[in-house]
């Protein structure tokens, strides 16, 4: 190396080389660019909660880090305490293990599901086949086209939704929407597992296999869920929220189809010899078709209050609350059966996902499904899916005027509970004492 004298040329040379490099660095500033194409949805390996665990009564909320059903894989875990034993007794009946299925069957299911739902980078719901047609206005249209039209499950929206999901939801709700993302285990209530196809807060009036309407999912995104770790996303653009809703429905249809087929396969495996059956790919499509139809149906139904009340004065509101107290304490309605002591002493219970919940404490002034009267109305009239909150209305699709009035009175009553001065008024004017 020859020692050169310092000269301006050297600086110039260095600047010429480093400046473009620096500028390239600046241009390189990257951001979220969606899933890698190589990533696939993972096959389900966690326990299936197939029947209600109603007769297993937990004594407390589960500690962070592990879902209650996951403790089944750690039989020696002391983490979950005495409640774990109760859960263990349900192995094989209410709780099924998909890992016991033969490897080949599970692989076949993975391929069938990929055929149905694509991969995270290119999500789709594809139920093609001559069978899967719906009669609409005299025309036969394919389920696929209806899903695209009514549920906005077209690939463009889904791809946008997938990117948004990756940056906003993935770390809790997980790649497959299983609620087992890296942070998911550590918060309680645990993030919703979409793969059961059940969503708690819905305004649809279906009776069996009730699905939420798109508006319901969007409302949860907009308002967040107070008292849980689900934040509000209302600062996202409207179009982005719609895309997210579409993607969540996509995950849910995929997951529920998997859930249902796994359940069938496990049942088949227990019979010997196994009964003759369709190939897995067809079973998945049949199930997905069924599920898609109930999603489509849910969009058309709605729980509609008959006569929303208009209170002209605080006295009228109080009178309604007093009537609500009567409904609340009615033995046939039995609100207090679960919401013991207005929910303050309510007992723990398992919900449809095998997580631990508790009926609402009405004094907490916290409304997870939303605090607007209409949202409370939907929950009372139609129940809360997956959480054993029974519908108040005999037929949510056709609420009778009496039921309507009673629900509004109940809502008025519940609204007085968190406020001491209101409770006092109730006592002074109507002699109703809420302790």
């Amino acid at each position: 190396m020859i020692a050169r004298r310092p000269s301006g040329r050297n600086f110039l040379r260095m600047l010429l080389v480093t400046l473009p490099a620096a500028i390239t660095c600046l241009l390189l500033a990257g951001c979220d660019d969606g899933y890698d194409v190589s990533i696939l949805y993972t096959p389900r390996t966690d326990w299936l909660v197939v029947e209600s665990l109603k007769d297993v009564v937990p004594t407390r909320y589960d500690p962070p880090g592990m879902l209650p059903v996951e403790t089944l894989d750690h039989a020696d875990s002391t983490l979950f305490g005495p409640d774990q034993k109760l859960l263990l007794s349900k192995k094989g009946t209410s709780l099924l293990d998909p890992r016991l299925l033969p490897f080949g069957t599970r692989g076949e299911l993975v391929l069938a599901l990929r055929d149905l739902a694509g991969r995270p980078a290119h999500p789709k719901i594809d139920i093609s086949g001559d069978k899967f047609m719906v009669e609409e206005k005299g025309n036969r249209v394919s389920v696929n086209s209806l899903l695209e039209k009514e549920l906005k499950l077209d690939t463009k929206t889904l791809e946008q939704g997938s990117m948004l999901y990756r940056s906003n939801c993935l770390h809790c709700h997980g790649l497959d929407g299983d609620g087992r993302g890296p942070t998911g285990h550590w918060i309680n209530p645990h993030p919703r597992d979409y793969r059961q196809g059940i969503f708690k807060f819905a305004s649809s009036a279906q009776v069996a296999n009730r699905k939420p309407r798109r508006e319901d999912l969007k409302r949860v995104l907009v308002n967040g869920i107070e008292g849980t770790t689900m934040p509000s996303f209302h600062l996202l653009k409207d179009e982005e929220l719609e895309a997210l809703v579409s993607y969540i429905i996509h995950l849910s249809i995929r997951g529920e189809a998997e859930f249902a087929v796994l359940q069938e396969l496990i049942a088949d495996a227990q019979q010997s010899p196994p009964p003759p059956s369709d190939p897995i790919i067809l079973r998945v499509r049949n199930k997905a078709d069924e599920i898609a139809r109930s999603w489509l149906e849910a969009q058309k139904t709605e729980i509609k209050p008959i006569k929303p009340p208009e209170y002209k004065s605080e006295d009228e509101r109080l009178a309604s609350a007093a009537r609500g107290y009567k409904v609340y304490s009615d033995k046939n309605v039995a609100c207090a059966g679960c919401h013991l002591n207005y929910g303050r002493d309510a007992a723990f219970r398992y919900d449809a996902w095998g997580t631990i919940v508790k009926p609402r404490n009405f004094f907490s002034n916290m409304y997870r499904g939303g605090r607007r009267p209409i949202e409370v109305y939907w929950r009372i009239a139609g129940g809360i899916n997956g959480a054993d909150m029974a519908p108040f209305a005999k037929n949510p699709a056709a609420i009778t005027p009496e039921e309507d009035a009673q629900i509004w009175d109940l809502i008025s009553f519940l609204n007085t509970l968190p406020y001491p001065e209101k409770r006092q008024e109730l006592k002074d004017k109507y002699g109703i004492e809420v302790k």
Binding site: M1, I2, A3, R4, R5, P6, N10, F11, R13, M14, V17, T18, A21, T24, C25, L28, G30, N168, H171, T183, S203, R213, E215, K218, R219, V222, N223, G224, E226, T229, P231, S232, H234, L235, D238, L241, E302, K304, P305, P308, P309, N365, R371, R372, P373, I374, E375, Y377, W378, W408, N415, T416, P418, Y419, K422
Partner: protein, 355 residues
């Protein structure tokens, strides 16, 4: 990604080549030749660093817009300190580089044998001491104005809020990971605007919950030219209420309700017939036909004002995003509040709620 790796390698190669071009001799272990280049290295780095600030300001990588009554003072102080430290930095940098440039080892020269100078020590102790002390004292008023809330203390002492000091109250509860706001109902606000006494009860009791409160998530609404008093609470861990454009930051402490205030001097939202939109600015235009000055709304992306969490609070710390809407007039604000109240009390129409 792969481009990431490629560019890392590229940058290293470029840096290595740049070094080679500049310092072939300096890197030689021999005592002779090319020593002054180290002075160049230090000099260039220090020079680029001095230039980085004006460059950043030019690129718009600078303080966000300043729109509260006290933000101007804070910015002024920032600029004064920037000037003082900037001059010091440039001065020290020049001396440093000059010394490195001037005095590389030279076998023909002996170092100046000295153990220091009492006089010089006195000078360079006393001058910065005075400067720093003045700087320290000068900023006390601005600090107390923001955090000590003299106007509220005075009002509480007098038992009455003067009409020109009327303020808006909000309770903001932080939790993992969002902000929940609670406003008094429009009726209460109107009542407080009439009467400057009862409002102080609410200040003392830190806004007790009422059934007709208006609740929102992640958005603060307030009025231009009116003080907004925030009762800051948290349900779980420490969060920090950060309004960059207002130059306001305050931690929310578990178990405490901390009062904070700010007074915006500019509006950033208006009602477009369907919803309230921000990112907009009022601008005085030419007098209209009636000879009066008119104000028109002009879109301005610098007028999207956000609320952030500035104290580490867990997984979604960086996603606790809220927005600040400053209404032009009290009427606009009340109109919004009434709409929000109506939305809170919805009893029918399962509409798609947005905003």
């Amino acid at each position: 990604m792969i481009k990431f790796a490629i560019f890392s390698i590229l940058t290293i190669a470029v840096a290595a080549f740049g070094l080679y071009a500049l310092f072939p001799a300096a890197l030689k272990p021999s005592p002779e030749g090319g020593r002054k280049r180290w002075a160049y290295l230090f000099g260039i780095v220090l020079l680029l660093e001095a230039l980085a600030f004006p460059f950043a300001a030019m690129m718009g990588w600078w303080l966000p817009k300043s729109v509260s009554t006290f933000s101007g003072g804070i910015d002024l102080l920032f600029n004064i300190i920037l000037a003082v430290t900037g001059v010091t930095f440039v001065g020290v940098g020049i001396i440093f580089t000059y010394v490195l440039f001037k005095y590389p080892a030279d076998p023909n020269r002996k170092s100046w044998y000295t153990h220091g100078s009492h006089k010089l020590e006195m000078v360079w102790t006393a001058v910065p001491a005075v400067l720093l002390f003045v700087l320290a004292i000068a900023q006390i008023p601005a600090w107390l104005e923001v955090k000590n809330m003299g106007w509220l203390r005075d009002a509480l002492q007098a038992g009455e809020v003067k009409p020109e000091n009327r303020f808006l109250q909000v309770e903001i509860t932080a939790r993992q990971w969002e902000w929940r706001m609670r406003y008094p109902s429009p009726q209460h606000i109107e009542q407080w605007n009439q009467d400057g006494k009862t409002v102080l009860n609410d200040v003392r009791l830190k806004m007790p919950a009422r059934p007709d409160d208006v609740r929102t998530v992640n958005e603060i609404h307030c009025v231009k030219g009116q003080k907004c008093l925030v009762h800051l609470k948290t349900m779980d861990v420490i969060h920090s209420f950060f309004l960059p454009q207002m130059r306001l930051k305050q931690d929310a402490l578990p178990g405490k309700t901390i009062p904070v205030w700010f007074e915006p001097t500019e509006a950033n939202c208006y009602f477009d017939g369907k919803e309230w939109k921000d990112g907009i600015r009022l601008e005085r235009s030419m007098p209209g036909s009636d000879g009066k000055d008119k104000e028109v709304w002009v879109p301005d992306e610098r007028n999207v004002w956000e609320l952030a969490c500035a104290e580490y609070c867990g997984a979604r710390h960086s996603l606790m995003r809220g927005k600040l809407y400053v209404h032009n007039t009290q009427e606009d604000f009340l109109a919004w509040l009434k709409k929000a109240e109506a939305d809170n009390q919805l009893t029918s129409i399962p509409q798609t709620e947005k905003k």
